[in-house]
Amino acid sequence: MTSLVKAREETRRGNTLYIIHRVTILLAVVCVFYPGFNPGRITTAINRNVSLFTASISYNSLVSELERALMRGWVQSSTFVLVMIASIILVVGIALCAVGGCMSVGNNRMRRSGLWFPLAGSVAMTAGLTGLYLAYGHIVQANNKRVPAHFPGGFWLFAVFTAVILISTIVLIIQDRREKKELEDKMKMKESYNLFLLMLPFLALSFVFSYLPLWGWRYAFFDYKAGGELTMDNFVGLYWFTYLFENPATRADFFRVLKNTLGMSALGIATSWLPMAFAILLTQIPNMRFRRIVQNFTTVPNFLGWTIIYAVALAIFATDGFINNFLNNILGISANTNYLMSNSHMWIKMLLWGLWKGLGWNAIIYISSITGIDPTLYEAAEVDGANRFQKMWNVTVPSLMPTFFVLLLMSIANILSNGMEQYLVFSNSMNASSLEVLDLYVYNLGIGNGQIPMSTAIGMFKSVISVTLLFAANTASKKLRGESII
């Protein structure tokens, strides 16, 4: 009896049909999110960035470039409503297939019940594709040059998926009936697969939002204009990378931005010991209540966004702000300077705003470490006749060094990433040139000016250097402390 079960187990394992079935479903699920394979792009007037999934959840995206055509009556809006409904049916069908695919890794009973899902799913997919085909017919019939009919390549792809899923499901159902497997009392799945399937949605999200953008690096190799297409005609190879350094204007811009980035990061690194000093000096104060108050109030700015910090800056330093009011009303000195409209010492000013926002908060980690230092160390130092400063320098500082070291390495690894919000909000016509850091430059260039290829190229440069620095920092940490930081 057991050998029979074993034999059956083996036929199941050897069943390549199941593998084809599952892989096809997985591919179909992935393609749902990929705009290039949208089977519903029945006219080139539909935005090429609309995926099947987008078309099924957002009618506005679907017709984003068709407003005029719909207004003038070149095409009927019912056509696109049909496209959306067909897309929804298609997506639901694929979702059903996905459920079936998941169930196919379970025990016999679960696999048997699971086969009905892809059957229903592939029927729904057929219906959805038919709907899209009908909509395509409408466009052909309308025969308007400005809304040219286009038979999407993705249609064939999804038709093949549907066919494969439908046929494999039917064959699997027949095979399942013929084999007369013993059915368990309950649907069950091996725990390892069960856990993986529970994790799968999160992995998919991570893939879509963190790995898929890497595919966007291809824009750096094309002469792409916003809303245009990527074809072999506008493939330009490494043009943008050489342009960046050969064109005098962009080169000057790039080095100015790089100087700002490195300069402000260097200032940040040079003052990275301040939170530690803050913590050591604060813990010297014996009055716990005073310490608590200082800690509470100095950590608050850290939790406010940069817009608020800028609002504070305006309230204090603008022409109608506190400083001028104070000089005028209290000291009687006539003054109306707008301190924010100035381009002097911008790096230092940004550093000071950063410290105002983060110093108290960054000290907390050191304060907690200090309370954890073994008090006998201090007692021993006292017995040896150490005074207050000697104890700080010889006991407290060395025990905080590991933490300091890790944070220092991390800030070196992040030398190119100082974020854009701070510099964006403080920018004005006077100081923009000395505030523009790499992150902000990429934003201004890409989102502001629509220069997607160039800004992508710069972003690639930044990503690669950042990762290299991170690994270097990690290696340094391993060598020096025998511990990795990532």
Partner: protein, 304 residues
């Protein structure tokens, strides 16, 4: 422990130099604390003082002619009221979904039986240290139809690798025997998660919730990048930034609001009031949540 520190510092022979150090030290901290808190006091007294006096820049240290009508008038600045709805809703929805996902994903990554667990875990962790860059990310969001779309605020934030790691580390510190006994009693992975892990992991979930909520509340960058064509989807911070940069924009918004214009002489007051509205919730919540904030930063330190 705290008393130990106190007595040991009292044991000093209080020399002159020591006293001087103490005086300077306390003064420096007092001044810095004042610098941290004064701007908010200044903003606040300007929002509750007589608008005429504020317009003439006469309110410096003490409020005069106290009234709260500015805060009530804000509801008529429809653009801002709209952005409050966007921010509040994304803070509630985005944070609660993120916490739920982090809890479940964090729990699942502790399960060694999972098919190829370490591969998937590594796949999540790598995303913390490497990203493709702003523009490819934007193009990806555009391709997914998540630009000018409220879901663009929610979906990308669901899987937060750092928070997943925090939850995982925390769950691993819970004695395994609790989970084992439940499994022996026949509980499934999901039952163990909802009945045992969720209640025990409450402290860490509160911590990531607090950080997530602050992040959502302060969100500016994703609104800037994703919602450039949909002013109705601007977050509060984005809207405030627009107003801070152009008074004309604010003046228009106030005029369409109707009654507001006559009550307010200048846009200064309304700018200050809007700033306070975005600050006050954090100030109010902070004292209660501080414990979680501090725990959060310590957890980050021991993450390893």
């Amino acid at each position: 422990m705290a008393r130990d520190a106190k007595t040991s510092s009292l044991r000093y022979k209080t020399s002159f130099g020591d006293k001087l150090f103490m005086v300077i030290n306390v003064t420096v901290f007092a001044v810095f604390t004042l610098i941290c808190i004064f701007p908010f006091y200044y903003l606040f007294i300007n929002t509750i003082s007589d608008n005429d006096l504020v317009g003439k820049n006469l309110i410096t240290l003490i409020p005069r002619g106290i009234h709260f009508s500015n805060y009530i008038a804000l509801k008529d600045v429809s653009d801002f009221a709209n952005s409050v709805i966007v921010t509040v809703s994304r803070t509630i929805i985005g944070t609660s979904l993120m916490v739920l996902v982090s809890a479940l994903a964090g729990y699942l990554t502790t399960k060694k039986e999972m098919w190829h667990r370490s591969l998937w875990y590594r796949m999540l962790v790598i995303t913390m240290y490497f990203n493709a860059g702003t523009i490819p990310w934007y193009m990806n969001m555009l391709g997914l139809g998540l630009t000018d779309n409220y879901l663009g605020y929610i979906i990308p934030g669901l899987v937060a690798p750092y928070n997943i790691i925090l939850v995982k580390t925390y769950i691993e510190s819970i004695p395994a025997s609790l989970e084992e006994s439940a499994t022996i009693d026949g509980a499934s992975a999901m039952q163990v998660f909802s009945k045992i892990i969720l209640p025990l992991a409450k402290p860490i979930l509160a911590t990531i919730a607090v950080f997530g909520a602050v992040g959502n509340w302060n969100s500016l960058q994703d609104s800037l990048i994703l919602m450039s064509n949909s002013p109705e989807l601007y977050t509060m911070q984005h809207r405030l930034w627009v107003y801070l940069n152009s008074s004309s924009n604010l003046a228009t918004a106030m005029q369409t609001g109707g009654s507001v214009t006559s009550a307010m002489l200048n846009t200064k007051v309304i700018k200050y009031t809007i700033s306070m509205v975005t600050v006050i919730p954090i100030m109010l919540v902070y004292p209660f949540m501080q414990r979680y904030f501090e725990e959060g930063i310590m957890l980050g330190a021991v993450k390893g």
